[in-house]
């Protein structure tokens, strides 16, 4: 029975439902709402915000329905089977043979992120009702926020890369609009431009990578799956099929990862994210912590097979993704120590946490990384909204921790409580949600053999605990300072740190009304602000239990619902099992066994009731080469629910793979306790330093950076953000743009008019230039070379620049005629 391939397979009937089939409606709702706000918003009683909130509630209901039905679908499927995504495509546009679809690709990852985005968007819009009340561009704010949600949701449900790019770029545009919401302040519009240009730099990679992958994969996907080379499904299975050449898939993956670096604020393009805090706080909370910046992480998770093969993840050595992620964790966490602006601390914390996600993905910890997107969204959004609540109600629109905060725990008990819960979640303290995701990432990174990066992760956990303790201490403990103590800033001092200041724009209308109550001293915010905070804090506490590995497998719901099974399936989505039970990564040492004789491959059908138990009990003797290893591994992997699949390590002989086989680290309390101790050490050490430094003003600590040279150097490096901005703006931009500008200027100034036109002069000029130039080069060598080239070209081209259209036309056609003549004569 095993020797013969069984190609026929009965279909595993997967349940579906209206919400799953119509998940594409979710981005459409806010998109329509955007137009309603733009066209009718100003005439509505609530200035258009009601459209925004209503559309987000609608999207949330739809996303919840889709998530519920997806869970039904997974639960109805046989355990361990590949639950095929719900894919729908309509032709978007076509041109002479090439057509692109638009549609939906809904699987566990999609519904998880859809739910997060819709949920956080809803809460943030409710919060903004209060936070931006009376703002000058209130309607536009809600329009941009709603459009952003439409873009992000569209990216998440995207069926193909083109649709994904569409959503990606809409997000970039809205990020620009929202960061620069108060553009009257020069710093805000600069920050908006910086964010836009930096992410655009990465977006070049997105376009390039998509093009590379399309042209490499299109033939295979069209033949095998009947979809274009843009399709997510097609690219995923193509990457694992053995068809892609090494260079093509590596280049494609690297290019796409550059896009992820830009969007997700990874080193070295992370510099825009802290500056983006110039936007209103709800924007920071929604776009720049919980949703938009995870788009890069989402991209990697979405096309994981491409990165898995292209970057050689789990290949035994460090790869690009894990290195970038690791660097980002540490450098961003260090930067968070020297910030005095509470939002910047949170921004660097976001960068660092995104580094965790990337590191997890790069080290094969797919599920923990995705789960970290999920939990991080809740607690980081809560932290940002908490910071906004403080500045809104207590600190006179300032975000300066040292100047304007302190001792706020008595005045703002709800904000304080939610902040503490989210901080503990961020630091990964058991049993808060961060523990179940972050600790799993660190654990799995170590389990997959990336020991160095496990240590990086633990160091990051220590740093996270330390800087969050510092921020919490400065904000909520000690004595009230500055605005929190009821002082009013002088205008000058306020403007001096306007760059970090959210509301520094005194022109904006909200200010007057706030001024009135800000002078009453710090107090708790209104219910429109506290209710979202409480909801988010509850989730920051509770969402981790969706995938609570410590309590055994039956708690790992998220894993069951979201992680795609690495099963070999037929192109139509019907499950096969190829290669028997015992085929493991060990077998990749002798891959010829399975590729040379495909007939010997074992194709078993997964029936509705055939769980992994049956598969495991099937004798693997059909494959003599692997039987012993297979049995050995069977014993080893008895704790795992998944059978071994060849996906990711070798080419399936029949059918396609949709996801690579990944192992999960078994949970051990000893490891968790170690990381808890490290976090505790971070808390205590940081608390000790804070008390000494800020409370007791201990002479040993105050001014340490001025006295100690090494510390002083480190401090200076951190304050200047590793000089990366200097590198980008002063050195790179200036070295590229400045000479061009100078050359153009020189050209304008020096090229004289009244030069005799005509071909004779041109020829003479070129001859003279060649003569002089060669002469000069022989004499002076290469030192003066570049200058002479510029000068020579200038003098040679001087008569050409007469400014007369006809002459340009004559030169153009003359050159074309000469070129054509040469070509014709050569070719005939």
């Amino acid at each position: 029975m095993f020797a013969e391939a069984t190609e026929a397979a009965t279909e595993v009937v997967l349940s579906s439902g209206w919400f799953l089939e119509h998940a594409w409606v979710i981005p459409v709702i806010p998109a329509l709402s955007f137009f309603l706000i733009i066209f009718f918003g100003k005439r509505m009683p609530k200035k258009g915000s009601e459209f925004g909130v209503a559309s987000m509630l609608g999207a949330l209901v739809f996303a919840g329905g889709a998530a519920y039905q997806w869970i039904q679908r997974v639960n109805g499927a046989p355990e361990g089977a590949f639950v095929s995504p719900v894919v729908k495509t309509w032709t978007w546009w076509q041109n002479s043979g090439v057509s692109f679809g638009i549609g939906q690709h809904v699987d566990g990852l999609t519904v998880a992120i859809l739910l997060v985005v819709a949920f956080i968007s809803t809460l943030v819009q409710i919060y903004s009702l209060e936070y931006l009340r009376g703002d000058r561009r209130y309607t536009h704010f809600f329009a941009s926020l709603t459009l952003f949600s439409a873009g992000m949701l569209n990216m998440v449900v995207a069926e193909n890369m083109i649709q994904l790019i569409l959503g990606w770029e809409i997000m970039g545009l809205c990020s620009f609009l929202l960061i620069g919401h108060w553009w009257e302040e020069g710093a805000n519009s600069r920050a908006a431009l910086k964010a836009f240009f930096t992410t655009r730099t990465g977006d070049i990679g997105l376009l390039t990578g998509t093009a590379i992958l399309f042209f490499s994969a299109n033939e295979w996907t069209t033949k095998t799956l009947g979809v274009s080379g843009f399709s997510i499904r097609g690219l995923s299975s193509w990457a694992l099929s053995g068809d892609p050449g090494h260079a093509a898939i590596t280049m494609g993956a690297v290019a796409l990862f550059i896009a992820a670096i830009g969007k997700s604020g990874q080193f070295p393009l992370h510099t825009w994210l802290p500056d983006a805090m110039a936007g209103p706080t709800p924007v920071s909370s929604l776009l720049h912590s919980s949703t938009m910046v995870v788009a890069g992480v989402f991209l990697v998770a979405r096309l994981y097979p491409v990165f898995f093969k292209g970057m050689d993840i789990l290949g035994g050595s460090a790869n690009f993704i894990v290195v970038i992620g690791g660097i980002t964790i540490v450098i961003a966490a260090l930067l968070a120590f020297v910030q005095t602006d509470i939002k910047k601390v949170l921004a660097y914390s976001t960068v660092s946490q995104l580094g965790y996600m990337m590191m997890g993905l790069g080290a094969g910890a797919w599920l923990p990384a995705v789960f970290h997107i999920f939990t991080h969204a809740f607690f980081k959004a809560c932290l940002f909204l908490g910071a906004g609540s403080i500045s809104h109600s207590s600190s006179h629109h300032s975000f300066e921790m040292k100047k304007d905060m302190g001792g706020l725990r008595k005045f703002m008990p709800i904000t304080f409580g939610t902040w503490i819960i989210s901080t503990l979640a961020l630091c990964g303290v058991f049993p808060f949600s961060g523990f179940f995701s972050k600790d799993e990432i660190i654990d799995n990174v170590g389990h997959n053999g990336y020991n160095v990066f496990m240590i990086v992760g633990l160091a990051g956990a220590f740093l996270t605990a330390a800087y969050m303790t510092r921020a919490t201490y400065l904000t909520f403990f000690g004595q009230p300072r500055g605005a929190s103590a009821g002082e009013h800033h002088e205008e000058e001092s306020h403007d001096s740190h306007a760059a970090h200041d959210d509301h520094a724009d005194h022109g904006h209308d909200a200010h007057d009304s706030h001024e009135a109550h800000a002078s009453h001293g710090p107090h708790e915010s209104g219910w429109l602000i506290t209710v979202p905070l409480v909801i988010l804090a509850t989730l920051a506490l509770g969402s981790g239990f969706l995938n609570a590995a410590p309590f055994g497998e039956k708690w790992e719901h998220f894993k069951k619902w979201v992680e795609p099974s690495a099963e070999v399936v037929s192109p139509t989505g019907i499950a096969y099992v190829v290669g028997g039970v015992g085929e493991t990564r060990v077998a990749s040492d002798t891959p010829t066994d399975s590729t040379v004789a495909p007939d010997a491959e074992v194709v078993t059908l997964v029936e509705g009731e055939a769980g992994p138990e049956m598969l495991r009990s099937t004798p693997a003797s059909g494959e003599d080469a692997h039987s012993t290893e297979g049995e050995a591994l069977m014993a080893d992997a008895s704790g795992e629910a998944h059978h071994e699949s060849p996906c990711g390590t070798e080419t399936p002989a029949q059918g396609v793979c949709m996801a690579p086989q990944i192992h999960h680290a078994p949970f051990k309390w000893s490891k968790a306790a170690t990381s808890m101790l490290i976090v505790l050490a971070g808390f205590l050490l940081s608390l000790f330093v804070c008390i000494q430094l800020y409370e007791k003003k201990n002479k040993k600590f105050v001014g340490l950076t001025e006295r100690n040279k090494v510390l002083g150097f480190g401090y200076k490096l951190l304050v200047n953000k590793y000089y990366l901005d200097v590198l980008y703006e002063k050195i790179i931009v200036r070295s590229i743009a400045h000479p061009i500008a100078a050359a153009v200027y020189w050209f304008n100034q020096k090229v004289l008019d009244g030069v005799v036109n005509g071909a004779g002069t041109t020829a003479k000029g070129i001859a003279g230039w060649v003569y002089r130039n060669i002469d000069q080069r022989v004499v002076d060598g290469a030192v003066n070379g570049t200058g002479n080239v510029a000068q020579g070209a200038g003098s040679a081209l001087r008569p050409v620049q007469s400014g007369k259209v006809n002459q340009y036309g004559a030169l153009l056609f003359g050159a074309a005629a000469i070129g054509a003549l040469v070509l014709v004569i050569v070719n005939t």
Binding site: L797, Q801, G803, N806
Partner: protein, 99 residues
């Protein structure tokens, strides 16, 4: 009918158009010369379409006619603007672009 008789005719019209673009000073006449060039391209497209028995040339000939209409519209608007600003439509007076 030879294929070449149409192609050579198109080539002749093209070269006359090129001569017009180079030699003429009056902006309207330059635009007319450009129309000659575009028409020669259309003849080429249709000749090849007939030779290959395909319809693609027809489609693109129509597109070119539409593009030419747009080009003339914008071009003449520019000529009007130029005339309004300097009471002349001689192209050799427009040398602000001189290097």
């Amino acid at each position: 009918m030879f294929v070449n008789q149409f192609l050579i005719l198109a080539a002749v019209l093209f070269c006359i158009g090129v001569y017009g673009v180079i030699a003429r000073k009056n902006a309207v006449l330059v635009l007319m010369s450009i129309e000659l060039i575009l028409n020669s391209v259309n003849i080429n497209l249709l000749a090849f379409s007939m030779r290959n028995g395909s319809l693609d040339g027809h489609t693109f000939a129509l597109y070119i006619i539409a593009i030419a209409a747009a080009e003339v519209g914008v071009g003449l608007a520019m000529v009007l603007l130029m005339y309004r600003n300097r009471r002349s439509i001689d192209l050799d007076e427009l040398s602000e672009m001189k290097g």
